[in-house]
Symmetry: C2
Subunit: 487 residues, 2 copies
């Protein structure tokens, strides 16, 4: 770029330029007096939300602490408990009406010492490859496992193999994420069954271990962990399962093509401990007009243990905290009760989300809206809504208010894992949808760290969430189906 030819300066966002006149703190009040109504007033509130987030945001400092002072927050770990205490203290400092911890028992799985693996092309000729145990896996024997390898592209292909081809072998699931899908979450959905259910399927055919290609669209050296399950397989039949980096997977596959007789060795000493007490962290601003109607914003406070969980889901936690702070800072008092919930144990058990919804049901709380951020701290592109067509039609009326901020993509679809259990209440569920291109470069891997976060992208996400919460609070949504549970 040369200095005097700014290609999209002054012209790209006329909406923003129109709105840039500075207004005093009492903007809402003044605007009302001046006769600004409807979308004009909404546009002004939203402008203040974005401006505040980008100029005085707190989310980035919070995430810096969570990521760099605490680190990975696997359920049941000391770090998870530190994160509970830290975020509770920070929420208390915001002057909310109430901050509390909701106890929940969570599984505790520990990785143990560093995993180790190699490909043995012939005795004495080995290549080390990066692996990590999948969350929930059993350990190998102390000396590790060495066996021949059967490569498959998925569970269906495995299940067509005769038992004698699989028994005593390590099954290598190598179906990659589909690069041509624009939405990388769709590509993830297309191969994560290998990670989740591959070990159980392989064990049923007598395999002794499972190696799964990392869910990563790049070729690199990071193994990506994630949860797996043995389903109803008896404990005596559980076999160890590990992820291998994408480069490692390519090497293994190529080596197998050259010589199907090669052996693979891996060693891990992870294990499942007894459940431990942990907490959802909750803070709320009580509604000024309809306090009985509860709106939730949240993310999950636990993470995997390899990185520091900055994108998954430290970002969603600090953005959710920031939603409440932004509304307070800009002087907007919600009519309905606004609650931030930092859910525990999304990654390997969903206990926090389940517990929150159960307690809401038990206590007869009425939840009307829930929004989760759990797709990374990247530039916000839109929302996905789990709601009725009528509600979505109303939501689409709000969409033009987001376009000055380049938030264009509103769809019907899923929302977030932690708020899913609230669905029987018949509320509107929503998920923030950031740009997804880089997400799986970091997801569940040791490079999901604070340096991969861009401050402005994180802040834009928080402002986008706060703006939707504001609009829901102000207008509500029609035709929500009758609640199945609750009062």
């Amino acid at each position: 770029m040369i200095p005097l030819m700014i290609p999209n300066s002054k012209t790209v966002l006329p909406q923003i330029r129109l709105l840039r006149t500075r207004l005093p703190q009492v903007a809402c009040l003044l605007l009302a007096c001046m006769g600004l109504h409807g979308q004009e007033q909404d546009a002004e509130v939203i402008r203040k939300i974005y401006e505040t987030s980008l100029s005085q945001g707190r989310s980035y400092e919070w995430l810096n602490h969570l990521s760099n002072q605490i680190g990975g927050r696997l359920s049941g770990s000391v770090q998870a408990q530190q994160a509970v205490e830290y975020t509770k203290k920070e929420l208390e400092g915001l002057g909310l009406d109430r901050v509390w911890l909701q106890p929940v028992m969570v599984p505790k799985w520990v990785r143990g010492t560093a995993e180790f693996a190699y490909i043995e092309s012939e005795p004495g000729n080995t290549n080390n490859v990066p692996v990590c145990a999948l969350g929930g896996s059993v350990a190998t024997p102390v000396g590790g496992i060495k066996a021949g390898v059967v490569e498959v592209q998925g569970i269906a292909e495995l299940q067509e193999l005769p038992r004698e081809e699989v028994a005593g072998k390590i099954v290598f699931f190598n179906r990659p994420m589909e690069a041509t899908l624009i939405n990388t979450f769709e590509a993830y959905g297309g191969c994560v069954d290998q990670r989740h259910g591959g070990a159980a399927a392989a064990a049923r055919l007598g395999a002794v271990g499972v190696i799964v290609r990392s869910m990563n669209l790049r070729l690199d050296d990071f193994p990506h962990t994630g949860s797996m399950s043995y389903g109803d397989l008896p404990a005596s039949q559980h076999i160890p399962a590990a992820a291998i980096s994408t480069n490692g997977a390519e090497l293994l596959s190529t080596t197998l093509k050259l010589n199907p007789q090669i052996k693979f060795y891996f060693r891990q000493n992870c294990r499942q401990m007894a459940d431990v007490l942990s907490y959802n962290v909750i803070g709320e601003i009580r509604g000024s007009e309809n306090p009985e109607q509860i709106m939730v914003v949240g993310g999950h406070l636990d993470s995997w243990d390899l990185g520091d969980g900055s994108h998954d889901d430290g970002a969603g936690c600090v953005q959710s905290m920031e939603v409440l702070r932004l509304l307070k800072t800009t002087g907007y008092r919600p009519r309905r009760t606004l609650r931030v919930v930092l859910f525990m144990n999304e990654e390997n058990g969903m206990r926090g989300g389940t517990k929150y919804a159960q307690e809401a049901l038990t206590s007869g709380e009425e939840h009307v809206f829930a929004l989760e951020s759990d797709s990374g701290g990247f530039t916000p592109r839109g929302f996905s809504f789990d709601c009725t067509p009528e509600a979505f039609e109303k939501i689409m009326e709000w969409k033009p208010l987001f376009e000055p901020y380049l938030v264009h993509h509103f769809t019907r679809g899923g929302s977030g894992a932690d708020i899913g259990p609230l669905k029987p209440q018949g509320l509107v569920l929503a998920g923030l949808r950031p740009d997804s291109q880089r997400y799986f470069d970091y997801h569940h891997a040791e490079n999901d760290t604070f340096d991969a976060i861009n401050r402005r992208e994180l802040e834009l996400g928080a402002a986008t969430m706060a703006s939707l919460v504001y609009l829901y609070d102000r207008y509500g949504l029609p035709d929500q189906p009758a609640r199945e549970g609750g009062r």
Copy 2:
């Protein structure tokens, strides 16, 4: 994320799912026979373009070579010449109808040895701060310059100061980029005048040097270079100008507030050499029906010297090369002539763009469309078009074809610096608009390197450009104003 709750899987992009049926290579022909017309056929061509780019793209490997094997490509440098030769060879390998070099004399400015600077709070008490010479600046005396500092927020504030407050001092321009603007290019446009014209304005008031806050929205330790000009100031009055990192600027400003008497020292030995011969690199596919009508896609091959110029503008070059390759690979033969132009010397002289337009005029070539990528290799968000309202109205009819790829933002405005000189031909000019949030983290600094590039984002940009070129080639645009130059 837990594995079985994919929040936006399957639902976000129904358009894409509808289009995913695989079709043979002769798709266009077949589709025509089968009665697929208009937007349906266009959607299929565009789907193939994106799919090819994401699964078999070459842009990332090209950029890897440009960035990691060649490096920063300042005009007149050995690396710039290596880049000319490398890209020419790569274009020749694509089987285009013609590849050639267009000679152009370019300025040659050299940085010399590493710059050095410190804040001297009192004699013997110094803090080193990161600085770099601005492109085009003169050197300091061999022993450097040490002087008192006048901090201003811009040229206007400087010009209100009495000469005696400025004479003999170093002027420190410290107006930061405005964080609340969504489009970071607009924020850049709002303060780059300090860098470009600050030295001349300060020299006129007797200043001995200029230090400019880096054009960067982050606080970090990278000084960002960029071009500056002394305008019509006599050479004897030229004073040295350097950029200081944003952290350095904050430190300097704070120190000045504590004690306005502090001194600043800096040393640089850059200099302007005689112009040297360089080249625009050009390749073309001759149009099958209207070869006289020329469409250009391009970026600039030169870069600054601190990093390797991956985002600015290696990305734009390899994306432009990829446009031609994608159309060839997907079997689309343009009706009009499609030309890739890798312009030399955008950063400090614009000689390549100027020369290309002059030669087009001289030879009576008819340019009907030009598209530049020079805003970084990030996720494509849309285009900016410099065209008539009538042409823009037609372009907006194409916009739905881009929405499956989350390319939503079409505006009228600027295009690109290098293609700007073609404007008198009355053609449609366009600029790719990627996500701008991270761009100025890297722009003109030593961290503009290949590791800041995401492969998929780069490839999506190339596919987005190729799709627009395809649509222009197929449909043209109405009501382009009469050409001022040419035949």
